[in-house]
Amino acid sequence: MSEAVGTARVKRGMAEMLKGGVIMDVVNAEQAKIAQDAGACAVMALERVPADIRAQGGVARMSDPDMIEKIKAAVTIPVMAKARIGHFVEARILESLGVDYIDESEVLTPSDYENHIDKWDFKVPFVCGATNLGEALRRINEGAAMIRSKGEAGTGDVSNAMMHMRKIGGEIRRLSSMREDELYVAAKELQAPYALVKEVAETGKLPVVLFTAGGIATPADAALMMQMGADGVFIGSGIFKSGDPAKRASACVKATTFFDDAKVLADVSRGLGDAMVGINVADLPAPHRLAERGW
């Protein structure tokens, strides 16, 4: 009997189990329990949600292992954590803590402005952000087992996530319509490996699960992203920066499952209290836009 851990099938399969679900940012054990009780399919453990990272500034890094351990102990659902782009030592530390997924995230300050982590070298799976198909395929080529749109984290403005989902979807549809002999140039233009480009052209989808993230703040936002073809949703600041986190969390979970049922969406959108105030992405000076980190 040959037993194997950390295979691509096991890593990608883990993301398959999260589909149709909501992954919520939490900063302590209490929030993690609220998220689990509301029906979150996983939590992202971090010290500051993106809205606070934005407000407080400074270098944002991996969270304290103590805080991650406490969250792990508080819930039975998977626990994810963020490492800085290219910071393979933070990733090793998170792997040794037994987190279930690592987000190599642009929300933290990058540690390397050229290279991402060689993710094949780890047993733990990675999720990475992407703003377009080429970026998604470059991350998959480096071993990412799950992709999420980047959106503009910590804003509560869903427009960038929308743009990235449209872009990724549009580029996939374009590949599917091409002649086989045109895929070589398509790969060159996408700056992505030919084998992956060919696979996407043939199957009409990414070879890994595609979630959406960045700026999702309401049940309607979550449903919008599901209708745009996302397999599931990350909600960062949107839950615990709102007036009634437990109620909003539960509403977003229901909206993600019943994304195509306007009646359910209307019901769950009632009486949620204040949504996070948010920032319009257009008002953010370009150097403060996180989605532009990563390449």
Binding site: V5, G20, V253
Partner: protein, 197 residues
């Protein structure tokens, strides 16, 4: 047959595909009226707490229990196995299951995601590659439960990872991820046939 796949959360699309590839009509089940339409039900992999919570909210929880009691054939993989267990250990506080199989299932028994694995095993006489993801195992079963597959686990004991009791089938692993239809065919051909009135 009309096979329903509980589509609240998890990898239900893969189970829908497996049912179609086996030559059956495959329908998503998110509501009570959709459950009433189908001959058998598959509970997919996913998060058992999420699936139970959504089933509770949308009135499916008691309805699925009723269908199980009435003899509807149900197959659960991973989270689905947990939801078919009469008893669970290491679950979330107050975690509920549909129940139906007289067994105790340990959640995340093989460990966290870094311990997730694939392995060859013998399922009801067939050799196959099985994928285990944060998988549960069966801690103990009553005499009325038939063990269809076991693996040797890190605690040095052999634990059942596929079981059947009457019209209910459960596996710790995910045949829907390997494109191997033999477990689904076993469910359709051995479990459903005869159980569907």
């Amino acid at each position: 047959m009309k096979i329903g796949v509980l589509a609240l959360q998890g990898d239900f699309r893969e189970h829908l595909l497996a049912a179609k590839q086996s030559g059956h009509a495959a329908l998503t089940v998110r509501r009570i009226d959709e459950l009433a339409e189908v001959d058998a039900l598959i509970i997919p992999g996913g998060e058992s707490t999420t699936i139970a919570q959504l089933a509770r909210t949308f009135g499916l929880f008691e309805e699925i229990k009723k269908h199980i009691s009435a003899g509807m054939p149900v197959y659960g993989s991973c989270a689905g196995m947990i939801l078919l267990a009469d008893r669970i250990v290491d679950g979330a506080v107050g975690q509920e299951t549909f129940g139906g199989i007289d067994m105790t299932v340990r959640r995340n028994a093989f460990g966290r995601q870094v311990d997730s694995f694939e392995s060859d095993l013998n399922f009801a006489g067939s050799q196959m590659r099985a994928v285990f993801i944060r998988a549960p195992w069966v801690e103990e079963v009553s005499n009325s439960v038939q063990v269809l597959a076991e693996v040797l686990a890190s605690d040095g004991k052999r634990h059942p990872v596929a079981v059947r009791q009457g019209s209910l089938l459960a596996t710790s692993f995910h045949p829907e991820l390997t494109g191997d239809l033999r477990v689904h065919r076993y469910f359709f051909d051995q479990v459903c046939v005869g159980a569907i009135k």
